[in-house]
Each structure stands twice: as C-alpha cells, then as structure tokens.
C-alpha cells in the first residue's frame, strides 16, 4: 500500500518536472524582459515559433541540440521584433505582444504547411533524434528515483541550471545590476551613462530566445512534433508564473513547479475512472493560474518602470 502511494508520488514528481520545464524556460524569458522594463505578453507566440522551429529542424537535421538552438534563434528573432516596436518606437508593449502572439501562431502554421506538404502538423521525430535522457536506466528498475528520473529529457536539467545562471547573472554581476536599474528607473541609469536602449534590446531578444527554448522543450522532448494546439496557453501560464514568482528567477521556478504540478496532477488523475470528465480535470492548471493570480499576487513587486517606454528628453 505504502509502496503504491510512494510510487504514485514519484510519478507525480516526475510528471511535474516534465511539464514544468517548458514553463521554466519561458518564464525566465519573461523575467529578463520585464526586469529591463519591457512587458512581454508575446511569450506565447515566441514559444509557438520556437516549438515549430525545434520540431522542423529536428526532423530535417536530426540533431536535437541544433534544433534546440535553432528554436532559440527563432524565438530571439521574434524578440527582436518586439524590441524594435517597443524600445525603438515606444509602442504600447501589450499591443505589440498581442500582435506577436498572432504572428507566431500564423507563421508557424504557414511554414508547417510549406515544409510538410500542407500539413498543420510536423512529422514525428524518431526517438533517437529527440532530446537525450541522461538518467535513463541509471537507477534500478522500479526504484523511486528511476520513476522520477528515468524518462526525463536533458532539457529538464538544463532548465534548472538556467535558473541558477540567470539568478547569478541578475544579482551577482554588474550587467544584472544594470538590467535591473533600467527596469526600475531608466532615467537614473541614463544619467550614469548606462545605455538603456541597448540593455532593453538585449533583454527582450534573450527573452525570445528563452521562450523559443521553452517551445522546443515541448516539441523536442515532451512530444516529438509540432501541432497548432501544442503550446495552447503555456506562454501565458509562464507569464503568470513569472508574476506569481515576483519577477524573480527563483520565484518563477517555484511558480512553474506549482503550475507544472497541477498539470502533472491532471495527467495522473486522468488515468482513473472518475465521475468527473477529463476536460474538467485538464482545466486544473488554468484554474490554478487564475486563482493564484487573483489571490496571491500583490502589485508592488513589479519593476517600477515595467511597461513604460523610455524616451530620452527632447535633445536638440
């Protein structure tokens, strides 16, 4: 009895890690962008294009790491677009983000039809060409560690490492200090000779790269192809996780684990014969997102200049 419970818990932990991974990458992207002062609700679209690029490159090239990096570049290009609109032209960041979401989904679909004989779904990547599973078969069969780690892809471990790296970057390096200063008080940063525009550009591009990674962590690991319904709101959940995590990488990680856990739970419960329809159970992660955002998030944690375009004083 106890063994069944333990192995069930291990199973839930395993699925939690798996489903949290794409969220972690993407919300790290959100952390970078918003701490520089640019709201990025285009994470969803950047994730979609990353998922497509990962699956397509993975299929044609056959190397998961090249595909993963390709997905990052694709997301980064959309980040560049967002930066161009928001930083150079001071456009409304929410509107630009919405446009990016439509554009990401549209272009992914268009390219999919172009390269895959009119199909909206990319062809499956064979298991050998998917992300490696570093701890596959390392632990004895049936052990709890094996249940948790056996099927985890390399992207999972990389995501956790990235949280550490981004945290170190933001709080321990001079560029992290500058990034945060630009998101809090760009005019002050400017008077100290810090290039606000450049930092915001780099931060928004990197946020696209991370969202691209997030998408690829789905299409190259959790599943093995791209389809239009694959991302379906995960970018927004990652955004919510970043807010719930108070715009900090470590906070975002915990929030992603919570949301990923909800998803893991939904999958776990889905295998039983309940009187509740599976559709209702699948709603769990989204419902938790809304409840958390309504109930627990204060306003104060956001960087002061988040969402406000920076314009230099009229300098003639």
């Amino acid at each position: 009895m106890i063994e069944t419970i333990l192995s069930n818990i291990a199973l839930i932990i395993g699925t939690t890690l798996m489903y949290s991974t794409p969220l972690i990458y993407t919300s790290l992207g959100g952390v970078l962008s918003e701490n520089s002062g640019v709201i990025n609700i285009g994470l969803e679209g950047m994730m979609v294009i990353g998922a497509f690029a990962g699956a397509a490159i993975g299929y044609f090239v056959g190397d998961p790491w090249i595909a993963f990096i390709g997905a990052g570049i694709a997301g980064g290009l959309f980040g560049l677009l967002h930066a161009f609109a928001c930083v150079t032209f001071g456009a409304n960041q929410v509107v630009s983000g919405i446009a990016i979401n439509f554009l990401g989904a549209g272009i992914a679909l268009f390219l999919s039809r172009m390269f895959f004989e009119g199909a909206t779904m990319t062809k499956s990547i064979p298991l050998d060409n998917k992300m490696p599973r570093p701890l596959n078969g390392v632990f004895p069969d049936g052990s709890l560690l094996n249940i948790i780690f056996d099927n985890q892809y390399a992207t999972v471990y990389l995501a956790l490492l990235m949280v550490l790296i981004i945290w170190f970057f933001m709080y321990k390096t001079k560029y992290g200090l500058r990034l945060r200063s630009v998101g809090e008080h760009p005019t002050a940063a400017d008077t100290l000779g810090i290039n606000v525009m450049r930092i915001r550009y780099l931060a928004v591009i990197m946020s696209g790269v991370f969202a691209g990674f997030g998408g690829a962590a789905m299409s190259l690991a959790i599943v093995s192809n791209f389809r239009p319904t694959l991302v379906s709101g995960h970018g927004f959940i990652a955004l919510a996780a970043m807010i719930f995590g108070k715009w900090k990488p470590q906070g975002a990680l915990l929030a992603c684990l919570l949301f990923g856990g909800a998803q893991g739970l939904a999958v776990f419960l889905g295998q039983f014969d309940f009187e509740i329809s599976t559709q209702l159970i699948s709603m769990l992660p989204y419902v938790i997102t809304i409840v958390v955002l309504i109930g627990f998030v204060g306003k104060s944690a956001a960087p002061s200049a988040d969402g406000i375009p920076y314009e230099k004083e009229h300098k003639n």
Binding site: R180, S181, E184, A188, L192, E313, H314
Partner: protein, 513 residues
C-alpha cells in the same frame, strides 16, 4: 569691491560663454555667461522657468546649446552626453533624485562604474570599502547596506552627492537641493557644501530661495526669462537686492495682513484616528479647532500624518474613530461630494494629480465640482457657452495666463495651474478653505498671489486651514500655529508670539508637550 575685483585671483574651472538655447521659437537661454571658480559656491538664481535647469542640463550634456561654448579648465569641450561631463569631473544632483529605490545605497553609488572581479562579477566588498572611504572623507555618513526606500530624503540626497563624488566629480551641480528638505536637513546640507568647498570642490547651486543663497553661496548669477541679468558677490548684497533682480521689480517679503479678531469656532476635530496605506496609525487622537476669520497654520515635518489628516477631512480616507464637525454638523466619513456640499474647499497637496485634470482645458477644470448644476448643465447636457463665460470671468479675476479658457491645463506653468485651482475653490465661497502646500514649487510672484488669496478669505470672515512644510510661510501667513508630530498636535501658539526655534523643536518631537 565688485565681482571683477573679487574674482581676479581665483582659478576658473568652468566658463560658459554666450550660451543660447532655443526650443523651436522659445528662447530658454539667451547668451548667458557663467564662470565657476575652484573651491567656491556659485549660485544660479531665477524664477521657475527662467532657464536655470536648461543651462545646467547643457553643462551636464543632456541638451546641446544652440550657440555658445563651454571651457573646462581653460579648454574648450563639447559636452554631448553625460558621460563626457562625468569624465570632465562634473557631477549633478538632480532635483528629482535619480535613485533606484529597491537597491542599496552602495549599489546606487557604484551603478555604471561597478568594481568587479572576474567575469563581470560584482565585487561588493570593494564597493562597500570604496563607499565607506569617500563618505568618511567628506563627512557624508550613510549606511551603505540600507535600501533607498527605507532612508530619509536627506539621506537620499547624501547618496546622490556621494554618487557624484564616487565618479570623481570636482564640480557639483545641485539642482534645487533644499526643496524637499526639513529645516534641520537644510542646515546639514549647507555644512556639507562648506566641507566640499574646503576640499577644493566647486559647487553650482540652483535655487529660487534667497535665504539659502545668502547662507551658502559666494557668487550668484541671476537670470530672468532666459536672459543674463547680473552676476553679484553675495556678501555685498542682501535678500531684497537679489529678489528685485530676479523678479525685475521690488518684492515685499512681509505678507500684508491687518490684525483681525477671530470669530466663533466653525470647524473642529475630536480624537481623530486615521490609518495610513500600510495600515499603521498616522493620525493619533488628534484634536483641533478653527474659528471664523482666522488662518490656522499646521507646521510639521513631512510624514507626520498631515496627508492622512487632510484626506480624512476631505473624505478621501476612512476615519477609524473620532469626529469631524463643521457648522455643528458631523461630517465624519462623508464622501468628498458631501464634504464639498458642506462648504469645505480644498486646494490639494499635489496640484497635478488631485487638483486638476491635466487633459482638460481651463474652463472644464473650473467646473469640476459644479458641472451638474445650472447654468453649467441643463437636463444633464453641458452648456459650454455658459461654462466658457464663467471660466473667462475667473481667468480675469485671478489673472490666469495665458488668458485662454481653451488651453489645456497641462500646458500651464505651475503658478497658473495653482491659480486655476484657487479660482475654482474660492469661487465656491467655502466656510472652510483647506490649503495644502499651496506654494510648493512656485516662484516669488505666484507665492505672493497665493498668500493674498488666503488672507482675503480670512478677511471675509472665513476659516482657512493652511498646511505647509515651509516654516517661514506658516509663520508669515497664519494667525495661530498648530504643530503636528507623529499624528498628534503637540502645541498651539499665537503666530505673533511664535519663535522659529521653539517651533522647530516641537516639529522634531521635543519641546513642551
């Protein structure tokens, strides 16, 4: 002696020659000359909008001049951005502090010039050591690990000065440095300025306050409407001399006010308790009363419950317990609408946020409280003709400039924005007029006008409640002075018996309780 003779033997560190700056057709600086000498304090005096800040922004590389040249230590320099100014030893302490609130003092000081070890990793140990070193050298004590949001405004200003010194500034521009300080902090600042000049630093002090120029500066450049008026040796002049040069006419500092017997009590507050935004008690069992035909001044240092008190009276904040009465009627926890209808008018602390709708024009702003009444509205439809006639009347009566009722409130100068608010509030013919910081950021001419309006109200046998952080203003305008400290009235004195020392002591929590 004269300026030329006195300065002959001094070393020039900065020469700004014939600086002209145009924004479109508007001439902000019209061939202004400024020399700054080593180890001396050079004040820059002028009314709001006279072009002081423009001139300094040019020196700091935020604007480029239309014509004219700048010499630093005798060499011509093109200052096209702040980095170049910083490289040449110019540091600026902006009027609105340029500090990152969630960062620590040390992080703010090193930002942009961070000491690092390998791989751009911050070396906070060295940062703390560096900050400690300069703060000790100049006697500017700060806690380097404190967060900016937790320290006082005076401390924040020290951080700004340290920021400039950390970058090796030899010339410090202080833009309206006392605007936000308490009287005690102003004394400390002047001492800091003296320490800095002793160390050979040069200071440019931008101000429109004559007293601190007399106290702190060696020389003073006066500009009016962008034009270079004169440069004087401060020790050879006095406040009146500076003021008439600044405004271009004789200015009276004494507020003309006849003695007047106050009437019966009209407004009272009993045991009032109000909490602030953090749910901490800000007004603590406060008692107060105001009579007809008197101006009651409320003196106190910012943050002792003034804002919460005002908001409680005007219906903007919930009263926890206690009573507020006017004309024998209880108005505790009334809505702002009800408060206005009980003949209380309010000139709010923040004129741009609460006093005006900046995106409305003057005429719309004059009827914000009466828009639904005839003749401004009939059957729910606004009568713009009547509104405009009314607005024109007020513009004439209160001398609002420009004289166009269709001008957007945003485009008016601070003084004229305040005139619009006063016009609106006084025209409601209130029994009690509350004026919160009514002259903040205004120049001498506008201040005169505001004070006159308040005294007129009093002479009409109305009650006036004046809240100000400027002790001089409280002492000059009020009939009685109440001092607030930590949410309580700690003393009430007659204005004619008031002494600045006793009031200052009470404001700081000492004195007779």
């Amino acid at each position: 002696m004269g300026y030329e003779n006195v300065t002959q033997s001094l070393t020039k560190v900065i020469e700004m020659k014939n600086i002209t700056k145009k924004f479109g057709d508007f001439v902000a600086n019209d061939s202004v000359n400024l020399d700054v000498f080593k180890g001396k304090v050079h004040a820059l005096l002028g009314e709001n909008g006279a072009g002081k800040s423009t001139l300094m922004n040019i020196l700091y590389g935020l604007y480029s001049p239309t014509s004219g040249e700048i010499l630093i230590n005798g060499k011509k320099v093109d200052i096209t951005n702040p980095n170049i100014a910083i490289e040449h030893g110019i540091g600026m302490v902006h009027q609105h502090f340029m500090l990152i609130k969630p960062f620590t003092v040390a992080q703010n000081i090193i930002l942009g010039r961070e000491p690092i070890s390998k791989l751009s990793v911050l070396n906070m140990k060295k940062a703390l050591k560096d900050v400690k070193e300069i703060s000790e050298r100049y006697g500017l004590y700060v806690d380097p690990n404190a967060k900016i949001e937790d320290i006082s405004v005076g401390m924040q200003q020290r951080v700004e000065i340290l920021k400039a010194l950390y970058r090796g500034a030899e010339i410090l521009i202080l833009d309206e440095p006392t605007a936000v300080l308490t009287p005690q902090e102003i004394i400390e600042l002047i001492q800091i300025i003296k320490n800095l000049t002793k160390e050979g630093k040069s200071i440019i002090l931008i101000s429109h306050k004559l007293k601190e120029i007399i106290d702190a500066a060696d020389f003073c450049l006066i500009i009016r409407r962008g034009k270079h008026i004169d440069t004087v040796v401060v020790s050879e002049t006095d406040e009146e001399g500076l003021a008439s040069k600044m405004v271009g006419r004789e200015v009276s500092f004494v507020v003309a006010k006849d003695h007047k017997e106050a009437g019966e009590e009209i407004f009272s507050i009993k045991d009032l308790i109000v909490k602030d935004n953090r749910d901490i008690i800000a007004v603590n069992k406060l008692n107060l009363s105001i009579k007809k035909g008197e101006i009651l001044g409320l003196a106190g240092i910012d943050g002792n419950g003034q804002t919460e008190l005002l908001e409680a009276i005007t219906g903007l904040r919930k009263v926890e317990s206690g009573k507020i009465m006017i004309n024998g009627e209880d108005i505790t926890n009334n809505t702002p609408f009800q408060v206005i209808s009980k003949k209380i008018s309010h000139i709010p602390e923040d004129r741009q946020k609460r006093g005006l709708v900046l995106e409305f024009d003057i005429s719309e702003n004059t009827i914000l409280e009466n828009y639904y009444k005839e003749p401004f509205a009939k059957k729910g439809i606004l009568q713009y003709n009547n509104i405009q006639v009314y607005a024109k009347e007020l513009i004439d009566k209160f001398d609002v400039r420009p004289r166009e009722e269709s001008k957007m409130a945003r485009t008016l100068s601070g003084g004229n924005q305040q005139k619009v608010i006063i016009a609106r509030e006084v025209s409601n013919n209130p029994d009690l007029l509350i004026a919160a910081q009514p002259t903040r950021g205004l120049d001498v001419g506008a201040i005169e006008f505001v004070h006159k309006s308040l005294i007129e109200q009093r002479n009409k046998n109305k009650a006036v409640f004046l809240i100000s952080f400027e002790l001089d203003e409280i002492m000059n305008v009020s009939d009685r002075i109440a001092v607030i400290y930590e949410g309580k009235i700690v003393g009430i004195v007659d204005a004619k018996d008031a002494e600045i020392e006793t009031l200052g002591l009470m404001m700081a929590g000492g004195g007779n309780k």
